[in-house]
């Protein structure tokens, strides 16, 4: 199975081609949906087979590279379409194909009746194709192919309903914004690649990373390389300052939000940093930057999430916030903890989005949580699975989110500092609060919707995926039970990934000087805090709804700031977008190009015209005049000859 790993890339491509080319003629939703989901299901089985095969192998034999053919072979550059099976890529492959499959199935129900049904499945398959390239690539350039490819699919799927309005603008604005902001990040990623090639003379992971262990390269070069790569990551994974596209990406159909903008694509930046852990570990100052950016993003996104009323928007900010945690983990050198959180987050966040989709479906496209309420009795399965996901993300033991989040918090304390931990915990409390605000306002309490709405439970094709993800959200954490509890076996997940990060760990040299007592104490604090937040949310939004509005009006300034997301979009628009367009139009085009450059060109032509018009007058056609000039000329010539003697 390991040798067949390239099929997990090619099968989704085949699905894309079949549905993309023939989909409009097949028409039958069942056939299209089966093809679309089927290829992903088979890919998942192959990845699973490869995983178990790898598990049975001794550690040193676990890496395998399957090369298909050479892509670019020019000068010193040589990269191939080559796929790498190792501990890290397998974890990612299982997440992407596994969660991907579940979401594909769900989409059969969710997209039922949409006239672009075939197009939707074609795009989804194309996305999985690109994503598999991203995570299985054995070199930076192929990773970049996947990286841009997922960006394209994200663009196509955000703008899927291309003729619809979205908030103040349109879905196509949101799509374009996503692509362009991502491209800004990609610009950084490209520069990172160039510098890696300049420094190590290669862009293949194995070569670069082994040279990073042996070459003596100055810290500032590592600093630049990792900074550039991290800029790329902030674009793809929606971190400060490039996170602005993700909230707008909610314009896409909800399964897209679940798959691309929560579970998989947005974690690509985290994956990339983990993959390049050796490089990052060689640039401690950039590691600090990564940690701080991650933490700031986690914190600020959470503050925005508290006040939003659109169910998907709350989840979007929550995703940004959780991605921030993952980068915090990367920044403090807890690479495997970060990847662990990628996995658990994929489970519970996909579940939250699919649950939200189920609600939106039932409420006839209504997304405002102020107009929900009491939906539990109409759609119990959605409500219960949503509750499980909310508990998981809030970090309530023994659900999956508890293990991964607490591991990150612990490392931010033990490898980082008390401040990192404290802000992390505060963010976790806010997370628990706004998630349960969302839960209570949606599923509990009074019904706040009109009689025109007839909420109902979604069909099985949608609820079964919810149940699968709910089970994973509950048990998914058990693969990473911390050493404190599991004793001599250690953290299984951590052990599995350890060979990938051993070089980075060696460079970072963190000593476990902290006691188990501290670890358990911090854990207890955060669990108590989260539980208290949940109860607070219950008190405010279920028992005393007037508190919320009173608080909002008392702190009107703060509330407005949060409601408007710190006006970041407006600031970007005023400082970057509008001036660029304005200057390009009025200065570069109308003045520089039309007046100055073209004016000069036409001016020269005009000048010649005037000159020749003047000279032309000499040609009068009067023979006597010509004769006179001739005589004068001869006289002048003679005079000159005589004088020069």
């Amino acid at each position: 199975m390991r040798e067949l790993i390239y099929l997990t890339v090619l099968l989704p491509l085949a699905g894309f081609l079949i549905n993309g080319i023939f989909g409009s003629r097949i028409k039958n939703e069942k056939v299209i949906g089966t093809i679309g989901s089927g290829v992903i299901g088979i890919s998942f089985l192959i990845a699973l087979g490869a995983f178990f095969e790898t598990l049975a192998l001794p550690v040193e034999q676990r890496q395998l590279i399957v090369t298909l053919f050479t892509w670019l072979d020019v000068g010193g550059l040589n990269v191939s379409f080559a796929y790498q099976v190792d501990q890290l890529s397998l974890v990612m492959a299982l997440i992407v194909t596994g969660v991907g499959f579940v979401i594909h199935v769900y989409s059969i129900g969710y997209m039922h009746g949409d006239k672009g049904f075939w197009r939707f499945f074609a795009y989804l398959n194309l996305f999985i194709f690109a994503m598999m390239n991203l995570i299985l690539a054995d070199n930076f350039v192929l990773l970049f192919l996947g990286w841009e490819g997922v960006g394209l699919c994200s663009y196509l799927l955000i703008g899927f309903w291309y003729d619809r309005k979205f908030e103040k603008s349109t879905t196509s604005d949101a799509a374009k914004k996503a692509f362009i902001v991502n491209r800004i990040g990609d610009f950084g990623f490209l520069l990172g690649m160039f510098l890696i090639f300049l420094t190590f003379g290669s862009l293949n992971f194995n070569e670069v990373f082994s040279k990073a262990n042996t070459f003596s390269v100055s810290a500032s070069i590592y600093g630049f390389i990792t900074l550039f790569l991290f800029i790329g990551a902030t674009g793809k994974s929606a971190q400060i300052p490039l996170y602005v596209w993700l909230p707008d990406a909610m314009a896409g159909p909800t399964p897209v939000s679940a798959l691309i903008h929560a579970a998989t694509m947005v974690t690509a930046g985290v994956y990339m940093v983990a993959r390049c852990s050796v490089l990052f570990a060689s640039a401690p100052q950039i590691m600090t930057v990564v940690a701080i950016i991650g933490l700031m993003t986690a914190f600020f996104a959470a503050t925005i999430g508290i006040v939003q009323n659109d169910i998907k928007k709350v989840l979007a900010y929550s995703t940004i916030s959780q991605l921030g945690y993952m980068f915090l983990a990367m920044g403090v050198g807890a690479f495997s903890a970060g990847i662990f959180h990628v996995m658990t987050h994929a489970f519970f966040k996909a579940l939250l989005f699919l649950g939200a989709g189920s609600v939106i479906h039932a409420m006839h496209e209504e997304q405002d949580i102020q107009r929900y309420g009491g939906l539990k009795k109409y759609m119990p399965q959605t409500a219960i699975t949503f509750l499980i996901a909310a508990l998981a993300i809030s970090g309530i033991p023994p659900l999956s989110g508890f293990f991964s989040k607490d591991e990150i918090l612990w490392y931010s304390f033990s490898n980082g500092s008390f401040i990192l931990w404290l802000v992390g915990v505060i963010t976790a409390l806010m997370t628990a609060f706004y998630m349960f605000r969302l839960y209570f306002l949606t599923f509990e309490g009074k019904e706040r919707f009109g009689h025109d709405k007839h909420p109902h439970e979604s069909p099985k094709v949608m609820t079964i995926p919810l149940i699968i993800l709910a089970v994973l959200s509950v048990i998914g954490g058990f693969v990473g039970i911390p050493e404190v509890f599991s004793g001599e076996h250690g953290n299984q997940f951590h052990n599995w990934l350890a060979p990938i990060f051993k070089d980075a760990d060696r460079k970072l040299m963190h000593f476990g000087l902290h006691s188990h007592f501290e670890e358990i104490l911090l854990m207890v604090i955060s669990v108590i805090g989260a539980s208290a937040s949940i109860l607070l949310a219950r008190y405010i939004y279920l028992k005393k709804p007037e508190i919320a509005s009173r608080t909002a009006s008392r702190f009107k300034g703060v509330y407005n700031l949060l409601w408007n997301k710190y006006f970041i979009d407006e600031i970007y628009d005023a400082v970057i977008v509008s001036p660029t367009v304005m200057i390009s139009k009025n200065v570069l085009w109308k003045i520089a190009d039309n007046r100055i450059i073209d004016g000069t060109v036409n001016g020269v032509a005009k000048l010649i015209e005037i000159l020749s018009a003047t000279i032309r007058k000499v040609q009068t056609g009067v023979a006597q005049l010509y004769a006179l000039v001739m005589v004068l000329g001869i006289a002048a010539a003679l005079l000159w000859i005589i004088l020069s003697f």
Partner: protein, 512 residues
């Protein structure tokens, strides 16, 4: 060496076709069209023979055909191809029949003259790429202007006369300086060889021995002419006018092939003939190239006319090519060569698509469109595909060229600074901005303009034109080796010529 007539056939075929047309009566429109198409298609087939007979492992000129033409001046009819010119010849013979098919319904009056000029143009273009004698090169270079002048001037838009004259004079101005330089070179050669020559294989040996100061002037005389053709910022203003006014076929050929003559000239003549000057001017030309990349993109962004937008995007894309040439690394030069082909394909496709929609609506104003995805799905797909190719999405052709150029210029010893690449790479962002913004305004949203209702999607003929282009866009994107291998040795040779100019006896004499 035995003469090989294949390239001569290649030059003559379209010419014969053009004259064959003269015997067909003006009324028989389809007979004229089929004759034109047949000859250009035959030319393409012959060029394939050249491709399959070409030895990739050799950097030398192949398929050489040479005989004395003007005795006293030692001027030869001398043609041959290397990896660089072969790719451009293939691009020419590939695009010409496609543009003829694309004009099937858009050109309705003076069909005979139109086809005549198109075929004449093809002869001129092939001639430019295969000439190995400067005199012969110059004749083709100038001759090509005439059919293009008429194509813009007769079948163009409202301002066609202004645009045609501007195009003609601008290019003419540059080439006059080149003519002076050619004469000077021939005379210089007689100084060291004892006889006049305009044979570039001989001049490759002799010209590098020119002292640096004079090389600088020679470089500029050739370089200005090529820079206008590229066009390099700030010599680009003829381009938007010419493009907007030209009929679709003219725009495709103009962007697809004619612009490449500038970058081809730089690689074929400037670098190997004047290596010292090339090294001296490299940073200067690269700065202009980088300015062009950003400036062209920003100005493209704010255009309201689709065709003008694509025209300005050419300034940006060709900036990449020039940067790649003057970075003078194997990666960057190979990138530049493949990017020439890429630009021909993706910009050619964009112009064809603008033509397709213009033929239906008679407007190119972006603001007149919106929401046509529903009405013309295949057109929407095609425009997306061509745009993505132009944006440089990995997996499609544009990425391969841009990536190689950027990575090569980053490690270039000649430029010796990151900044060229850093600024050039911002073009990657801007390309996405201007193309996706146009795409959004044209294709997405709701149909607001009632006159768009009933818009017909691309017909079989139009699809037939796009498909081959798309195949190559994908091919180069996924397996570029097919094409990179063709020019690999040539690119290496050109770089070698710059850094290790031939040390002939002459130079030693000068030193003494």
């Amino acid at each position: 060496m035995e003469n090989n007539f294949l390239l001569t056939y290649l030059i003559l075929l379209p010419l014969i076709g053009a004259f064959a047309l003269l015997f067909i009566s003006q009324e028989k429109a389809s007979a004229i069209r089929f004759t034109g198409l047949t000859f250009s298609a035959l030319t393409f087939v012959v060029s394939l023979f050249v491709y399959f007979g070409f030895d990739h492992s050799s950097p030398d000129f192949q398929f050489i055909h040479k005989f004395e033409w003007i005795k006293g001046l030692n001027v030869y009819y001398f043609v041959g191809v290397d990896g660089l010119s072969l790719l451009l010849v293939l691009l020419t013979t590939f695009l010409t029949p496609l543009t003829l098919i694309s004009s099937w319904s858009s050109i309705e009056h003076k069909i005979k003259e139109f086809t005549f000029f198109m075929l004449l143009l093809e002869t001129g273009m092939i001639g430019v790429f295969v000439s190995l004698d400067l005199f012969l090169f110059y004749i083709f270079w100038e001759a090509m202007l005439i059919p293009m002048y008429f194509i813009i001037g007769i079948w163009g838009g409202k301002e066609r006369i202004y645009a045609a004259i501007k195009f003609f004079l601008y290019t003419m101005f540059g080439s006059l300086l080149m003519l002076v330089a050619i004469v000077w070179l021939a005379v210089f050669a007689s100084g060291s060889l004892g006889y006049f020559t305009t044979d570039i294989t001989q001049l490759y040996q002799v010209a590098p021995t020119i002292t640096r100061d004079i090389q600088l002037w020679m470089f500029l005389a050739f370089g200005l002419s090529f820079a206008i053709k590229v066009p390099l910022f700030p010599l680009h203003t003829w381009l938007p006018d010419a493009h907007v006014q030209a009929p679709t076929a003219g725009s495709v050929i103009l962007a697809g092939v004619l612009l490449k003559m500038g970058t081809y000239g730089l690689l074929r003549f400037n670098l190997p003939l004047f290596p010292d000057a090339s090294l001296y001017f490299a940073p200067f030309f690269s700065i202009l190239a980088v300015i062009g990349i950003i400036y062209g993109a920003l100005v493209a962004m704010v255009q309201t006319d689709m065709k003008k937008l694509v025209a300005y995007s050419s300034v940006s894309h060709l900036g990449f090519v020039v940067l790649g040439i003057f970075a003078m690394t194997q990666e960057s030069v190979q990138g530049a060569v493949i990017q020439m082909i890429n630009h021909g394909l993706s910009t050619g496709a964009l112009f064809l698509l603008v033509g397709v929609i213009y033929e239906r609506t008679h407007t190119r104003e972006i603001a007149d469109y919106g929401g046509i995805a529903k009405l013309v799905p295949f057109f929407a797909f095609s425009l997306m595909f061509a745009s993505l190719s132009s944006i440089g999405l990995p997996g499609l052709n544009g990425f391969v060229g841009e990536f190689l150029i950027l990575i090569g210029s980053f490690r270039s010893g000649v430029l010796n600074s990151w900044w060229f690449t850093v600024f050039a790479a911002t073009g990657v962002i801007f390309a996405a901005v201007y193309l996706l913004w146009m795409y959004q305004r044209v294709v997405f949203g709701e149909v607001k303009n009632p006159s768009l209702n009933g818009l017909k999607d691309m017909n079989a003929r139009e699809i037939f034109v796009m498909i081959p282009i798309f195949i190559f866009i994908l091919w180069i994107g996924i397996y570029p080796s097919t094409f990179l291998k063709v020019s690999e040795k040539t690119s290496a040779k050109i770089i070698h010529q710059v850094f290790n100019p031939v040390q002939t006896a002459e130079k030693l004499i000068n030193k003494r």
